[in-house]
Amino acid sequence: MRKAKHPAIFWLFLAPVLFAFVVVIVIPFVLGAYYSFTNWSATARVGDALKLVGLANYAGILRDPSFTYSFIITVVYTLLNMIAINIVSFGLAMLVTQKLFGRNVYRAGFFVPNLIGGLILGYVWQFIFDNAVPSLGTFLGFASWADPANLLLAHNTTALLAMVVVGTWQYAGYIMVIYVAAIETIPQELIEAAQIDGASTFRRLRSITLPMIRQALTVTLFITLVNSFKQFDVNVSLTGGGPSAMFLGQPIYGTQLLAMNIYNQGLKSDDMAGGQARAVVFFLVLVIISVIEVSVNKKKEVEL
């Protein structure tokens, strides 16, 4: 088989995107990796000359309990968020592919939260959890809703669940669209044949729908995995690092996900190089996890 030669027009079309990709992602990444081996700070202190410090920043990561803690809760948050988003969005997708009146309105409506920025979502939901729910409870007569001890954002465990709620609300519509596209490609003859054979709804779901959307599942699991791992906007606005927690005998921020940990290290602790080192570790972990996830899913896909 002859490989087609790429004509100049091919590269011309690709050039703007390649340029943006290289300038915005590749170059800062390489520069950042370089800076992680230096003593770069974010300020103009006297006597602040840039010099190489080898692996000192990486050693600092191991000594900082807040990074380990952030890593653990980011993994927990990612797992919970992935499960929640996929279940909710698949349910919504099944719903809007039925012959419902106004289903196109529903499809658009469920997608809208994704268009609102993460910061605004976080502030809106912070208001809901802190002010709206207690007020509603008082109005309806459920005094326990207004009890400060029962506020979701008052404890770091429930604050993490609150972040999962907001994360699901943010991405369910977006992932739903992917599932809808996949469900609509399932040939109707298969469904009808199964119905004639007397298969129940649940059996049809398990044996026809789910295997047929395997390709979409690879994509959605990947997107939800990466986006949950990288969560920052909602973290900052909803909990701000959240109520404190005690980890290894030290009080630390209780709902500080990895991205926020990197941001705080770089900008609040005057330690851009340290933040950069953490970012490199973050990148490596995410690459390894994503590659494993995609290769596992690829093997299970069904080719039509």
Partner: protein, 413 residues
């Protein structure tokens, strides 16, 4: 050819016109969002009068996005403002390489508190600010508590218990409006911390601060301070304490739902906005068993000029005009409700809490602000979670003292 003859001269005229008068521009970045509107209005007026565009950026209110962080981002982007605000020695050290030496400026002679390092002046004091525990005089009168007796721990404990027992009759939800969530941690780890550093010590006495910076903890002083913190947390509205934001905390006091407020005279604009007209003033902190008859007053915030600014004369004039023009004085005192740090300014702010600060300062009963001698990292990363753990009830007072002791001892080099 005809178009060429017409087009080129027009282009040249525009080009030369633009070159002849390059637009002058200065940027000012500061951290008091409560004066943002007033400052922008004044900057607009000053811009027109001086033909220099002034862009004002205000950052602050919550811990997530604060001025220090914004400045670091600006510095990395090569976009440093011409004038920006710093809060003290540690802040100054972060920017020491790019702050302009302002020794010799006219306003230095008219203020008692210019920011000086090694004998050279680097900072223009923005305002005199202060805080003690703000109280609602009407509620205290109804409860039969005399604010003049509130200057030590025992007096506060008795007063708080009394008011707490009369909550329903007074129509309040909690005795004190205090915030200790991570987002509002500047209330605990900056302002309340200062009680440990300077309450009861004469103005400018840095002994307690220097001891802690060196890792030496005075156990008795810390223990009495912990009693005070416990009192604050015990009699606060738990919802505001653990999850409230700035509006929730200040709003509770403004709407008469709390008898005391743990904030400073900078809330005067918020009080005016909420139309809170009840009598209010400051009482000293009761963080010691001994009476501490004074409140914390200082000029905490300074404007510094960027050495690499392209418009240093305009920046200098902006600062000088604040002190020596009527419009500048009116903005500082009447619009922004700040207490001026300059002797020549005859206007006096109308906010009750600012008047209270001025009264305490006139009586000479003031203590210094020393919290900004600790780094941002130490206050935000180490101290804030400790206060938060205590506020949410995750640790008790003994453990709080233990954690604070360990935190300060960790500063030993």
């Amino acid at each position: 050819m005809k178009y060429f003859k017409v087009f080129v001269p027009i282009l040249l005229a525009v080009f030369l016109g633009a070159c002849a008068r390059p637009p002058q521009h200065i940027t000012l970045e500061q951290n008091k969002p409560e004066i943002d509107a007033a400052l922008k209005a004044y900057a607009g007026v000053w811009s027109t009068a001086n033909k220099v565009t002034v862009t004002v950026k205000s950052v602050g209110g919550s811990s997530g996005i604060d001025l220090g962080t914004q400045l670091k981002a600006d510095f990395a982007a090569g976009d440093m403002p011409d004038i920006f605000a710093i809060s003290g020695l540690e802040d100054y050290k972060q920017w020491a390489n790019i702050t302009l030496d302002l020794t010799g400026e006219k306003w230095i002679n008219d203020t008692a508190v210019p920011f000086k390092v090694d004998g050279k002046v680097y900072g223009f004091p923005v305002a005199v600010e202060g805080w003690g525990l703000a109280y609602n005089a009407d509620i205290l009168k109804k409860a039969g508590v005399d604010p003049l007796t509130l200057d030590n721990y025992a007096a506060y404990k008795a007063a708080f218990e009394k008011i707490n027992g009369m909550k329903a009759a007074l129509g309040i939800k909690s005795v004190v409006s205090m915030a200790a969530s991570i987002d509002m941690s500047w209330v605990t780890r900056d302002h309340d911390l200062n009680a440990l550093l300077s309450n009861g010590l004469s103005y400018g006495d840095m002994s307690a601060t220097n001891d802690l910076l060196a890792g030496t903890v005075d156990a008795k002083r810390l223990s009495e301070y912990a009693d005070w913190v416990e009192l604050m947390f015990k009699y606060a509205d738990k919802a505001v304490l653990t999850t409230g934001n700035y509006d929730a905390q200040v709003g509770a006091f403004a709407s008469g739902k709390a008898a005391f407020l743990h904030q400073g005279n900078w809330v005067d604009p918020n009080m005016a906005q909420a139309k809170a007209t009840f009598a209010m003033a400051f009482a000293p902190y009761g963080s010691s068993s001994q009476p501490t008859d004074g409140i914390f007053v200082s000029a905490p915030s300074f404007y510094v000029i960027n050495k690499n600014s392209k418009n240093i004369p305009a920046a200098k004039k902006f600062l000088t005009d604040l002190v020596y023009t009527d419009a500048g004085n009116k903005y500082m005192v009447v619009d922004a409700l700040m207490i001026p740090a300059y002797k020549n300014v005859t206007l006096s702010p109308t906010g009750q809490l600012s008047k209270s600060v001025q009264a305490w300062a006139a009586a000479g009963k003031i203590y210094s602000w020393n919290q900004y001698n600790f780094t941002q990292e130490f206050r935000e990363k180490t101290l804030a979670p400790i206060y938060n753990q205590f506020a949410t009830g995750a640790v008790n007072k003994a453990r709080f003292i233990d954690l604070m002791t360990k935190a300060f001892e960790g500063l030993k080099k």
